[in-house]
């Protein structure tokens, strides 16, 4: 058995690839949690009375956050599949 094959076997046996995947999953879950809580706080701010300029700014941030959440969920789905 070649060295490369041996290392692949060790990686597979020890589940090192899975470990990397699960660490990524954990990271994306952490980020999604933070982004969702940020979204909630922007929602709350938008519901309160704010100036036109601030409202525009918050709406833009909300659009970005929603996009990031969607992106994060897609990554998580891919990692789970």
């Amino acid at each position: 058995m070649g060295v490369k094959k041996f290392i692949e076997l060790v990686t597979e046996t020890l589940g090192l690839d899975e470990m990397k995947k699960s660490s990524k999953k954990k990271s994306i879950k952490n980020l999604l949690k933070k982004l969702k809580s940020k979204k909630d706080s922007i929602d709350k701010e938008l519901k309160a009375k704010v100036g036109k300029k601030k409202k525009k700014e918050l709406s833009e941030e909300l659009d970005i956050i929603l996009f990031q959440i969607k992106k994060g969920e897609a990554i998580l789905k891919k990692l789970n599949s």
Binding site: V3, K24, S27, L31, E61, F67, K71
Partner: protein
């Protein structure tokens, strides 16, 4: 000259020794194998000294006591104060720790070396250690041949331990055989005269072997078979402690200012401790006897008693020095001044890049990150002034519309001069240093290093683009044509917002905030695409600006876009926490140009 004579002389003495005594040959071979084992062990630990150590270091050296603990534990594990000293110099050089913490690490390492004496006296001399050496060597060598960095590292560590065991075995065997032919103990010298003679021998032996650890192991082995007396062994141990600083000072002659300061601290510490130990030798020996009796060491177990002495002597030194660390730091910083303090150069140079950090890939990487941040700080100022905006206003909470009204200077800032003095040299040093550091790095590290080199280039390119932008920006910012004036001031506001946001990112720790702000400035960057968003078309169609103005605006919007692109790309590399979730996702959460388009479309 001395070196030219010294080495052949040592060879002649050794050759003569081998010729007259096969036992001496065994002992010398044992010492050589032991030293080779230490080198191999250091090689192995260097593989792991990167990321893990850096992370531990951040949390464990913020106080003097924690630094001492760090030095003690790492030396006890790696059994090499030499490697720990190299690490400490590298960490200071990379700006990861200060001199006081470095001194703390050295203090801890000094106590850490005593574990070697305990292991040797407690186990090494009592069991047949060579039986463990063989399998360790076989497994170790097999692992060294593996491609994976960590397996290779483990291989070096196992082989190192194997050689240490084998070395001890040969030393022990050599001394045991020697006992049958010659009794070195007859050469023992009593009293104060003996103390000084054997301290001297300890110094010379340590300088020759470049390791106090090896000297102490040799002393313990000789003591275990009665070839030296307990009193002389104590003197040899004190000598070894002085000898080790001589090697450290010699090694630091070629190092940078941090290395010189640290080795000077090491020298002062060990010399004073040794002087106090010599002056108070009788009460110290009494204390050793008392402690030994208290912990149940037999009165005639001299090897363990020597380990007690070694520990007591070193702990005493550390306790004695702790109250004076700040004064020692002050003294060394005043006495040994670096280039940065000695000469104020008009050409700014790198602050964190020096040879001492090259040894360890993680510290080299940390130094490059810090230097790139230094380059960014300079570029930030140049870009702000190039736009004729005050840096302090950008960093304040002032409305951006007001920020651009408060001009930095009535005259045009010479970006070329700024570039020559504060960018070019540092950038060149980063690239040169990165090339040198690369040779010690793994493929993954090299990939990270490449990203850092690109980040530096992004900074340089952003400055160059500002230079191109500056000419028309200053020409049109107060132009009588209101439309072109608005466009150029819009560019200034946009870039001021970019600089403010990047500065905020550099200080942020919340990752959701970082992602949001990075995405936001990426979205805002699209405002410079005046062809696609119809701005230029509208201005020309309605005859609001001249053709010349239109061409300038098109080119300059493109420069503003490039500046933003370069700065955002740089921020994604240097301001993202290495141990954070964003980094772990390899940039998957950063938005692409297509993502920006989708966000803009949704917002419309």
């Amino acid at each position: 000259m001395l070196r030219k004579i010294l080495l052949p002389s040592i060879f002649v003495v050794l050759a003569y020794g081998f010729w007259i005594s096969p036992d001496f040959k065994g002992i010398a071979a044992g010492v050589s194998i032991f030293l080779f084992g230490m080198l191999t062990l250091e090689e192995g630990f260097k593989v792991f000294s990167g990321g893990i150590l850096e992370k531990v270091l951040e949390k464990s050296t913020n106080t003097l006591y924690k630094s001492i603990g760090f030095g003690f534990i790492t030396t006890a594990i790696m059994q090499s104060s030499g490697l720990v000293s190299v690490l400490a110099v590298s960490f200071i050089g990379a700006g990861l720790i200060g001199l006081a913490q470095g001194i703390g690490i050295i203090f801890g390492a000094n106590i850490g070396t005593t574990t070697g004496a305990w292991l040797m006296a407690g186990f090494g001399l009592k069991i047949k250690i060579s039986a463990y050496a063989m399998p360790l060597l076989v497994f170790g060598v097999l692992l060294i041949f593996q491609k994976a960095k960590s397996l290779k590292g483990i291989g070096y560590i196992l082989t190192g331990i194997g050689f240490l065991f084998l070395g001890i075995h040969y030393m022990k065997e050599g001394f045991e055989s020697l006992t049958t032919t010659i009794d070195l103990a007859t050469y023992a010298v009593d009293g104060i005269k003996g103390l000084f003679i054997f301290v001297g021998i300890g110094i010379v032996a340590t300088i020759l072997m470049q390791s106090s650890h090896a000297t102490i192991v040799l002393v313990l082995t000789a003591l275990s078979v009665g070839q030296i007396t307990y009193e002389n062994a104590i003197a040899l141990t004190i000598g070894a402690n002085i000898g080790t600083t001589v090697t450290a000072v010699i090694a630091s002659l070629g190092s940078n200012i941090d290395g010189k300061r640290l080795s000077s601290a090491h020298f002062i510490f060990n010399m004073v401790t040794a002087a106090v130990a010599i002056a108070l030798i009788s009460p110290i020996i009494d204390s050793v006897n008392f402690i030994s009796e208290f912990i149940g060491i037999a009165n005639d177990n001299y090897t363990l008693k020597l380990a007690v002495f070694d520990s007591l002597f070193k702990v005493m030194g550390v306790v004695m020095f702790i109250p004076f660390v700040d004064k020692l730091v002050q003294f060394l910083e005043n006495r040994l001044k670096g280039k940065d303090k000695q000469e104020v150069e008009s050409y700014e140079s790198a602050q964190y890049l020096n040879d001492s950090v090259l040894e360890i890939p993680a510290t080299a990487m940390a130094a490059i990150v810090r230097e790139t941040k230094h380059l960014y700080v300079n570029a930030f100022e140049i870009i702000a002034h190039g736009l004729n905006i005050k840096r302090t206003n950008i960093l304040s909470a002032m409305e951006l519309e007001d920020v651009i009204k408060d001009s930095y200077s009535k005259n045009i800032v010479d970006i070329d001069e700024f570039y020559e003095h504060r960018i070019k040299g540092i950038y060149g040093e980063i690239i040169d240093f990165a090339t040198q550091a690369q040779s010690q790095m793994s493929p993954e590290d090299i990939e990270e290093l490449y990203a850092l080199k690109i980040a530096s280039k992004d900074i340089v390119d952003a400055v160059k683009d500002t230079k191109h932008l500056q000419k028309n920006l200053l020409k049109y910012k107060n132009n009588s044509n209101k439309h072109i004036q608005d466009q150029y001031n819009g560019i200034r506001i946009g870039l001021a917002e970019l600089l403010r946001s990047i500065d905020a990112i550099s200080k942020m720790s919340e990752e959701d905030e970082i992602i949001l702000l990075l995405s936001k400035i990426k979205v805002h960057m699209q405002r410079y695409d005046i062809l696609a968003n119809g701005t230029l078309d509208k201005l020309i169609r309605n005859d609001l600006i001249t053709n010349e103005m239109a061409t300038s605006l098109m080119n300059d919007s493109s420069y503003a876009y490039e500046i933003s692109k370069h700065f955002i790309a740089m921020a994604e590399v240097i301001f993202i926490d290495d141990s954070g979730d964003i980094k772990n996702l390899d940039g998957d959460m950063f938005i692409s140009d297509e993502d920006v388009d989708s966000i803009i479309k949704k917002g419309e």
